[in-house]
């Protein structure tokens, strides 16, 4: 393509208003994400267990450039080294990722039929069904997780129901185990998986399924060869939306999990509020962010690809 022909398309002119519109979200991110992140990062480079802020090294503006370089020289990565030395931290990270992954899988197994059923329901029902999925958001997340304690505890609703039905003779211990954490995560994050998946399945062209049937493919096979591959972008989007926040989840393991439930969110909380060790907990937070960057980048990548293919 010649340069002259490409030029008008390559450089769309933006007005001042246009730039402003773009600047607002970036300014928001700068103030509320990037700046706090740098503060956390700076604290993580301070010395271990100096309990009270401000954490040294400090930057004294009066000392000028020299003072700045001096501060840089005083930074230490000891906190990060410490994270590798105490196995509590890497075990927490690993356990968080594995709990999040298992929960995501269960959410998918529960959520796919739900989203599929909604997308295949008669048109006039769909808005209502969608409402029902969003409805839990109208109650505080914290209260809903608390409510699960009442359901899952030994004298809770679930055990009473199972006992009265004669399915068990001893109450099951669910609360304060990892199972309760799985239940809590699956329950809390289900809408985040169902909504993108529903949006994807709903626009699936039914004539594709008819075409498959017409070519001799029975419905149970066309589900796997047509519906599932075409729903993949929705499946991935939903899974990332569950997995990413679940890794750093604190409330659910704290309320429903037991002492053996290791999750990085809980470890972080303990470090911060019980041990009052801000530098180490900051280092934990920075590493957590780095771990989550991988799936977030993958997610973005996949979204872009899906958009390009027009799926």
């Amino acid at each position: 393509m010649s340069e002259t022909a490409a030029a008008p398309q390559a450089k769309p002119r933006r007005s001042v208003g246009g730039w402003l519109l773009i600047a607002i979200p970036y300014a928001w991110l700068l103030v509320f994400f990037l700046a706090p992140f740098f503060i956390v990062f700076k604290i993580s480079l301070s010395e271990i267990a100096v309990a009270i802020p401000p954490y040294i090294p400090n930057f004294d503006p009066a000392a000028g450039w020299e003072g700045f370089t001096e501060m840089l020289g005083a930074f230490s990565f000891d906190n990060y080294v410490w994270l590798t030395e105490d196995d509590l931290y890497w075990k927490s990270y690993l356990s968080s990722v594995s709990i999040a992954a298992i929960s995501t899988l269960i959410t998918l197994i529960v959520g796919f039929p739900l989203a599929y059923g909604m997308a295949r329901a008669p048109k006039e029902w769909r808005a209502t069904l969608l409402m029902l999925v969003i409805l839990p958001f109208w109650t505080s997340f914290l209260i809903r997780v608390y409510a699960w304690i009442g359901i899952l505890k030994n004298e809770g609703l679930l055990n009473q129901l199972l006992l009265s039905l004669g399915l068990i003779d001893q109450p099951l211990t669910i609360l304060n185990t990892n199972i309760a954490v799985y239940i809590g995560i699956v329950y809390s994050y289900l809408p985040f998986l169902v909504l993108p998946l529903y949006a994807n399945l709903e626009k699936l062209d039914t004539s594709l399924l008819e075409a498959a049937a017409d070519l001799g493919c029975p419905p149970w096979r066309s589900f796997w060869s047509i519906t599932v591959p075409l729903a993949l972008p929705g499946v991935l989007a939903g899974c990332f939306l569950v997995f990413i926040p679940a890794v750093g989840e604190f409330v659910i393991p704290d309320l429903l999990g037991g002492s053996e439930t290791l999750m990085i969110g809980k470890t972080l909380w303990t470090e911060f509020f019980n041990n009052r060790d801000w530098p180490v907990s900051s280092a934990v937070a920075v590493i957590l962010l780095l771990i989550l960057v991988v799936p977030i980048v993958l997610f973005q990548n996949q979204q872009q690809k899906a958009a390009e293919r027009g799926l």
């Binding site: 075409a211 070519l215 293919r309």
Partner: protein, 382 residues
Amino acid sequence: MAKKPIGPVRRDFAPWDDPQARPYIEFRNVTKTFGDFIAVDDLSLKIYEREFFALLGGSGCGKTTMMRMLAGFETPNAGEIFLDGQNLAGVPPYKRPVNMMFQSYALFPHMSVEANVAFGLKQEGMPKAEIGERVEEMLKLVKLQDFARRKPHQLSGGQRQRVALARSLAKKPKVLLLDEPLGALDRKLREETQFELTDLQYELGMTFLIVTHDQEEAMTMADRIAVMDKGRIVQIATPAEIYELPNSRFVADFIGDINLMECKLTAREGDVSSLHAPVFGCDIKISQAVDANIGDTVWFAIRPEKVRISFEEPESRVNALKGEVWDIAYLGDVSIYHTHIANEETVRATVANRSRVVERPMSWDDEVWLSWDADAGVVLTR
């Protein structure tokens, strides 16, 4: 009505005139309703092997429902459908020996062209090597060999249409159903594809059933056309018969352009009938035995290209009208003269533009005479 085939029918191919011939596809008193809406109303239809059959009608006339019932996507409320002697009731779509080319093409977006064409063959459990050969053969047929690895979204509309065709032909079905197959193509490509489809149908020896609202498409390709309206078939005939001998005002008006005049039947002498059109103030003589009583209201229908237009007064006042040129539509190949007769009634006459003159002798407000031959028009009784 005269029942001898006229016009270019495929030579020696007229199984519908043979009472011994066994229909290949048969609809027997089929009715299909959607809620209160009657899509197909107690309809019977016979289609013969190797026939290229067109269902023609406006939107909502039930033509697509007919095709979807044959493919198995809709179940009739009443009546039966037979294919090659087999009752199709209860046979799911994936077990019917028919393949359909969808209006939207319905190509699988996540599969390559190759995989799309191979899809039906894989379902059959055909060996891999054979699938490869067949896919290649099909892609060659639609001239897409070089595009085998592309995804549908990387193709143009015309290429997608070809992939859809190749995919529906790959299993070599007994019957190919085409749902508005050329609707999305531009005019040039459409015309080209029409001829390719007829050639293909002849070569492969399949039965084709096409659903279309485009009369030109039906006329060029089909052996027979069924014109549908409100869930019923109004007329089934060859394209030439449909055009020249429509059986009703609906068909006459739906297919092509036509002048309609309300008349009274005044006389019948053997094969010659006389009519009077009071609004036009015109006497008409026609070489057709009209199935009506003297004094009945009938309609005289004549195609614009069969009306002569000239300055000279014709010798006889029968089959002639005096009028004033009111508008001229110049289409390049032909010009259509809209002529006002008494009472602002309009009669259209089409004239082929045989010379390269830009200034045509006939112009707006000129007084002209319109005339036609005794075998040019047709009398309709409904």
